[in-house]
Symmetry: none
Subunit: 553 residues, 2 copies
């Protein structure tokens, strides 16, 4: 079977990391990949060193047919083999003349994964045929494709439910495929209802009874897809199907990054090229970007919070020995330990945080003390730097001073926002700003959907002619929290008479950064966060690092 063994995977053919982001992952609500997206996803997965990339269902989905056509010309895979997904032939027909089977061959993919029903209820109710014909559909299609020189994997759909209901039918279907030349019988928990102890036992039993090479494909309906996949490997499966970030239908699939993280760091298996492991975090975020889904900050291994500790209680202990408080060294997967600066901030955690942001406070006890005092004072008034690294960085650089000090790219004279709920029911927002920028006084007025939008629009109108880089900066998220005047987020006697904390997330399409503003007036709080966002960008423009770098929201 060496003809289609992935060339660059470290375990050769003995273990398969199989990605189905482009087919099963695309079933997630909200994902709609273009063909170009799909090619970009395939390249990233290949860079990572996965063994197999399932590209879609040629024939059934026109976009997937096009993907395989373009992939054959444009993709130059270093590690992975491309896989076409499809179904066995129709009941009562011949594989050789089934147009859907033909489309699989036409895709030119060296590997074909055939889905087959292995649950008798599905055979009878959905296929409307009997077990004899279901087995023959599998045998005929596998034999035909193998004779045509393709490597074939068999996805046994609804295997675990089917095996529990009628084990003989389930085993007969996979037997028909394996005897006809399929390489792996992939046991699928299609409805996602399995738990790891039971699933591992079934996998072990199937391997014992059949001797087949077994794979695993799990859905996350019990929140156990990753655990089930790893348990299956521990039980003898040597092929694991995952999707990037667990994208998939319903609750999703097994997350590729968590499965790899577990196999490598917990079970000591070398399933990716060594140099690929520190790319996990970057690739996960890049794949989220392509899917147009905000990365899950709390994702295991690769989330920006995966190694974030709230400071205080453990901060000094973490400084002594971070290994005691992390399950792995985050560097292994290309992630970082982060210390969250909260109400309980201390010197140690602020110094650690400065180091993370590239501001060296270690040799500057005065600056560190002043910064700490300022953070505490601001936090007492409702500021929170936990999720606003960019504002914290500006504060720290200010305290260090000298070359590190940061100036705002403009000065405000005044602004005015007018909101009208008119007699005809229409609601109108208008803002006027008066600012000094590049030595000039500029006045600009703009309308917006709401007060902050109008203010943002007026500010851009005033500044962009003088600061053209501002055009790249976009707001991507805006969060509001109401606090008491004392600053602690607790109920107040007068809900509208309170302090407002605004978090603004910005992007210049290379970097994302988050800033914070706090004020009794929500518009002024937003204004402060907006100003920090622009100042942070200006700092990077001046330093010649307009985009890129390691800063995270």
């Amino acid at each position: 079977m060496t003809r289609t063994t992935p060339a660059g995977t470290p375990l050769g053919d003995t273990f398969h990391v199989y990605d189905t982001t482009l087919r099963d992952g695309a079933q997630r609500e909200g994902i709609s990949y273009s063909v170009t997206d799909k090619l970009a996803v395939a390249r990233l997965l290949d860079d990572l060193g996965v063994g197999f990339i399932e590209g879609g269902w040629p024939g059934a989905m026109p976009k997937d047919t096009e993907f395989f056509a373009r992939a054959a010309k444009e993709l130059d895979l270093k590690h992975a083999a491309l896989v076409a997904f499809g179904s066995t032939r129709r009941a009562g027909a011949k594989a050789a003349t089934d147009p859907q089977v033909r489309a699989l061959l036409d895709s030119q993919a060296p590997v074909i994964t055939l889905v087959a029903k292995s649950d008798r209820r599905h055979i009878e109710l959905a296929l409307r045929t009997d077990v004899d014909e279901a087995a023959e559909m599998v045998r005929d299609t596998v034999a035909f494709l193998v004779a045509e020189g393709r490597r074939v994997f068999l996805d046994a759909e609804h295997f675990f439910d089917g095996y529990a209901f009628d084990p003989d039918t389930a085993l007969r279907v996979i037997g028909a495929g394996m005897e006809a030349g399929a390489d792996v019988a992939v046991l699928c928990d299609t409805n996602g209802g399995q738990l790891p102890l039971g699933l591992a036992e079934t996998v072990r039993t199937v391997i014992d009874r059949t001797g087949f090479r077994v794979g695993i494909h799990c859905q996350d309906d019990t929140s156990c897809a990753v655990a089930n996949s790893v348990a299956a490997v521990q039980a003898g499966a040597s092929h694991v199907q995952c999707t990037a970030n667990g994208y998939g239908e319903r609750a999703g699939n097994a997350d590729l990054f968590a499965v790899i993280g577990n196999l490598v760091t917990k079970l000591g298996m070398q399933v990716l090229p060594t140099e690929a492991m520190p790319e996990l975090t970057r690739v996960s975020h890049a794949l989220a970007e392509i899917a147009n889904i905000a990365p899950d900050t709390h994702q295991a291994y690769v989330g920006t919070s995966a190694f974030a500790h709230k400071a205080g209680l453990h901060a000094s202990a973490i400084k002594v020995d971070p290994e005691l408080y992390n399950h792995i060294d985050p560097v292994i997967v290309g992630n970082d330990m982060r210390v969250l600066v909260t109400e309980m901030a201390g010197r140690a955690s602020l110094e650690l945080k400065g180091h993370e942001l590239g501001v060296d406070l270690a040799g500057r006890p005065d600056a560190l003390n002043n910064a700490l005092a300022k953070v505490k004072e601001l936090e007492a008034r409702g500021w929170s730097f936990e999720a606003a690294d960019a504002s914290l960085e500006l504060l720290l650089r200010d305290e260090v001073g000298g070359a590190e000090a940061v100036r705002s790219p403009f000065e405000l004279e005044s602004y005015r926002v007018i909101l009208d709920h008119r007699i005809d029911g229409e609601v109108v927002s208008e803002a006027t700003v008066k600012v000094h920028v590049a030595g000039r006084r500029v006045i600009a007025t703009a309308e917006g959907n709401g007060p902050v939008h109008a203010l943002d629009a007026a500010l851009r109108k005033a500044l962009v002619p003088h600061l053209p880089w501002l055009d790249d900066v976009e707001l991507t998220d805006y969060k509001v929290r109401i606090l008491t005047s004392g600053g602690s987020p607790r109920a107040t006697e007068h809900g509208t008479d309170a302090v407002t904390r605004v978090l603004v997330q910005s992007t210049d399409h290379g970097l994302e950064w988050t800033t914070v503003g706090v004020h009794g007036n929500i518009v002024e709080a937003s204004w402060l966060a907006l100003c920090d966002a622009l100042t942070h960008k200006a700092m990077r423009v001046r330093a010649g690092v307009p985009t890129g770098g390691g800063l995270r929201p």
Copy 2:
């Protein structure tokens, strides 16, 4: 131990569903509960029927001290026992005179969970003491608290790592606590590095070697927290610690809803009152709302996509027999197979909800259908009634009409809000409202800290002379969430150009009620929620029930 056995849990004391959302869940980046939030969370968890609610760490966190003080007066728990979390006494001291231990007693919580280090490396490096003293710290503190009449659970921190490194130390620490009178030795995977097969084996071994009652507490760093928790129960643990929606530090904790879903629907355990199961989805979303975190649409069991199928391959087969394509009937957990904007978008649940709010829809199919259509239409535009019962009640009464119909106590002609950031740096908000009330046209202008405050002040100034009861109404909380124009809570291309949802919580010092408003303009959204709040109060004034009753936010 009957003194603190949760009264209303179905398995009595034989199995513990233990929630630590308010302590360990609050460690999640971005969560910052007010004391009022914490009380609301505790009420929702108690409604659900969990056995234990860990409320925080009194003494260490001033907010938690206040929570326990208010809980003792204000919380009337039906099912759950309240738990205070804290540490064993300091090394070299006495439990009886340790102020932190004293604060645990002062909290008046009937149950105390003590965290103790069970990993020798942590004992030596973080506690800077030896195993003898670590065991004595546990023994002394447990014995003292038990003598004071408290039930004690022991959280053995870093247990699994500690047990792997030095099993004798780990067992000695939990032994010291259990022999001194602790009821449960909770084995904690504090760093979250465990996988289910190995974890289950350790749990089984510990139970075999000690005979102790064992609990489990898992973090999600391998994406296996739910699987590990369930595997531990299968291995003999009879106490499981979870957080709502898996909130927690780093990758989070075991998700309460997935763990309950698995225990009940997969293992057949009755761990919640039967009537609580269909509340899982609603409570999950309400808890997300309080945490001010967008619900995870792909969350197992309770996510809005958890039973959503993309059309195509299975669409017609699903129509024939949905049970073949769902791992459980979604109704069991209060979810629905269709893609729902909310769990309430069904006739039966809306009728039930109406019943709960005192609006009889049972004999009024037209009103029910119209209300359902209206709820669906509003939800598609970003409204959410999950946490806004008062607005929903107004909507339902409107549809029923007749005597049930509710009128606003005033009519708006127009309002204008002006915000000035003046040249001297001062920020001023001023609002003018023109309204019709009690047959008169009234114009009033007021200033405020921000636009909503100014508007609220102007409205009160206009109305109070004519509606004196309005003087009792105060806003106690105000929450803002930014949504895309489509209404789904995810990032948008332009953070300030989006739809805003505002939740307003009001009180008349007898009752609290929550209303919702949605608009592109945050001030108009706030206005809509304010108007609903006053209308709801007016309705009760007219009906002669100015305060009291069971309505909650």
